[in-house]
């Protein structure tokens, strides 16, 4: 809690200070109580904002205004209510934040003007202070909007006037003021349609109510620092971020709608529930109460049994949060694909492995279709990818010779303008991606990419699936073979041997950078060893190693 809060005096001292008529110290205690209770409920008041103006955070603004007011009065303590009030109002004026803070400062300004020159405050003076506060606040606006903090102040003042006629005590008058404030806040949606649309009450009015309720709670000796047991209108129960609040071991979310028996005690209900679980919320609407709680697996039926003991259970919803969390985590693993605007050029890439997909995504691909050597995507899948993009200029990178035909057919079927860039492998696809200019025309991009794919050479390392002789190279089934730009160049017993043969074929003079994309069937350790081997033999080349995740090819190697 904030530094400015002193330890509140003990009960006997409070009782002495709050004797009627109230002196300056007693008034300060009431102001402090109002501030504390408002602070306790600050987040709730903030949550009542319906439109982005004029206040972003009504609760926070009102708390800051009250803090400034209290700090000023605290530095100039006096047993005289007139002096105390003047400093309090002065502080409120200087620290007024936001629209509701400004109005609040006007209320205190009028309030304190009534106290001027008085030593103590009795019920008559409190009533006049309320009247002055109301009048001053209303003078600040030419066209007052009803259903706001002004209305609540007006209604509370009317209650004070009525209470004075009934010759009540100071605390009874405050009871009447708070009751009228409560009613008035509840009526605000009837007066201000925008509140009704949003299904909330006015936030500034609510804040003002909390200030006076805090004062009353002080008089009644009720706590000011806990709002755990707060009953909210059903519409205000916010369960959407419940998942973020999940705690270790609290795996189940239980929501129960119920109708309590006659003497329902909310505080007891909260107390018992807090033994069972966490994130407790209770809401009320049309006689139905809704309870929300997170519990551990073995306690998930306890809230139901307990609620049945105090009322009639209407409906139960139970969900395994851990499952939901896992679902969420999966969503987050989705590739960060590029967003496409209508009219821009978008790229669809066919990718054989997760690692390669991630690289494509990072290079600005707008959609990825899974597919490769032996798992060609269908024309339908490709067309679907085209149609799902919000633009009609699309480039497709098949990234495998076997997919060219499907890509061309898909391009014909689609109503959009599609350019097929015949990339035979992922490195060519990457090279093409580096040339993408989304704002450019489809033709420009196509020409530029076609140029790019010839600037990169690709090596592939895989295991022969059958014995064969191609272009003078004899291959035994199970041997490691190396391909350079799609042509078989060597067979060897080990990957290392195949790489050596491959590098001899490649024209390394013109090459600056070599990139390994390792796939299935090879461990990272093995790849690192191969990397060391290559770095040793070709120290002047840059070598990068990425996880490609592709099947069949242990390594795809890009030479640039």
């Amino acid at each position: 809690m904030n530094d400015i809060y002193r330890t509140l005096p003990d009960e006997a001292e409070r009782h002495r200070l709050l004797q009627s008529p109230l002196n300056g110290d007693g008034l300060m205690l009431l102001f402090e109580a109002g501030l504390l209770w408002l602070t306790t409920n600050q987040q709730y008041v903030n949550s009542l904002n319906v439109f982005p103006v004029p206040d972003g955070d009504t609760g926070t603004n009102m708390v800051l205004t009250m803090q400034a007011a209290f700090a000023e009065a605290d530095q100039n303590r006096s047993t005289n209510v007139g002096v105390t009030g003047r400093h309090f109002a002065q502080g409120a004026l200087m620290g007024a934040r936001g629209n509701s803070g400004v109005i609040l400062s006007q209320i205190w300004r009028g309030f304190s003007r009534a106290l001027d020159h008085y030593e103590t405050m009795d019920t008559g003076l409190l009533m006049r202070a309320m009247q002055e506060g109301r009048n001053t606040a209303y003078k600040g606006v030419v066209r007052p909007v009803e259903g706001t903090i002004l209305t609540v102040m007006k209604d509370m003042t009317a209650a004070a006037e009525k209470a004075l006629k009934e010759n009540t005590s100071l605390s009874q008058m405050l009871v009447a003021i708070v009751a009228a404030g409560d009613e008035s806040v509840k009526r605000t949606p009837e007066l201000l349609p925008i509140l009704k649309q949003a299904g909330v009450v006015d936030s500034g009015g609510m804040g003002l109510f909390y200030i006076f309720e805090g004062m009353l709670r002080m008089l009644q000796g009720l706590p000011l620092d806990s709002s755990g047991a707060v009953l909210r209108p059903l519409a205000e129960l916010d369960l959407s971020n419940a998942l973020e609040e999940i705690e270790e071991g609290q795996d189940y979310e239980v929501v129960i709608d119920f109708a309590p028996n006659g003497n329902f005690n909310l505080e007891n209900y909260y107390d018992r529930l807090s033994d069972i679980g966490t994130s407790i919320q209770v809401g009320e609407g049309d006689g139905i109460y809704r309870m929300h709680i997170h519990t551990a697996l073995d306690k998930r039926y306890e809230p139901i049994a307990y609620t049945e003991s105090i009322g009639t259970v209407k409906k139960i919803m139970m969900e395994n949060l851990q499952e939901q969390m896992n679902g969420h985590a999966k969503d987050e693993n989705k590739l960060p694909l590029a967003a496409v605007n209508p009219g821009e050029v978008a790229v669809v890439a066919v990718s054989p492995g997760e690692g390669l997909s991630r690289i494509f995504a990072s290079l600005g691909v707008a959609a990825i279709v899974q597919g490769g050597q032996t798992m060609n995507p269908s024309v339908k899948e490709l067309v679907a990818a085209f149609e799902n993009l919000p633009t009609d200029k699309i480039i497709i990178l098949p990234n495998n010779k076997n997919i060219f035909l499907a890509a061309q057919n898909a391009a014909k079927v689609s109503a959009k303008k599609i350019a097929v860039i015949p990339t035979r492998n992922a490195p060519q696809g990457f090279a093409a991606m580096l040339r993408l200019i989304p704002d450019g025309t489809l033709e420009e991009n196509e020409a530029s990419m076609l140029e790019a794919i010839n600037e990169v050479h690709t090596g592939e390392i895989t295991i022969a699936t059958r014995s064969v002789e191609i272009e003078g190279v004899e291959v035994e089934k199970g041997q490691v073979i190396a391909l350079y730009d799609g042509k078989l160049v060597s067979s060897a017993a080990t990957i290392e041997g195949a790489i050596d043969a491959l590098f001899q074929q490649a024209n390394l003079d013109a090459i600056e950078r070599i990139t390994f994309f390792y796939g299935e069937g090879i461990t990272q350790q093995q790849v690192n060893k191969l990397g060391d081997h290559v770095r040793e033999k070709y120290p002047d080349k840059d070598l990068e190693i990425h996880e490609g995740g592709q099947p069949h090819y242990q390594l795809i190697i890009a030479f640039e």
Partner: protein, 118 residues
């Protein structure tokens, strides 16, 4: 003049209309007592103008409007908070009701009215 297009054709919103919305929002904003003439020329010409014209200047730009408000504010309020609120309020009303982006709102406090002597 601000132009928007819809399926049927174009929508033209004249500065006068924007002024009316801005004026209402300003006058409903807490602490604003009235609008004030922006300059001596306006003081003279206000005799011939409609009420909604006084104190509000609208500048139509390519991608929105900028507004200037000239206000009389209640004495004894924190002027900065009042000015911030009225600017936000006017921006919100104009954008919400007319669909025109408000690029900026300049608030000129031309004077204070003392209605609560203390």
């Amino acid at each position: 003049m601000t132009t928007q297009s819809n399926y049927q054709g174009s929508v033209y919103i004249l500065p006068q209309a924007i002024k009316t919305v801005a004026r209402n929002a300003a006058l409903q904003s807490y602490g604003v007592i009235s609008l004030a003439p922006a300059n001596p020329a306006e003081t003279v010409s206000r005799f011939f103008k409609k009420e909604a014209d006084v104190g509000i200047l609208v500048n139509a730009e390519e991608d929105g409007v900028s507004l200037e408000l000239n206000l009389i504010v209640e004495y004894g309020l924190r002027i900065k908070s009042v000015a911030d609120s009225v600017a936000e309020s006017v921006k919100y009303s104009v954008e919400k009701t007319m669909g025109i982006p408000v690029k900026r709102v300049d608030v000129h406090v031309r004077g204070l009215r003392i209605s609560n002597p203390d």
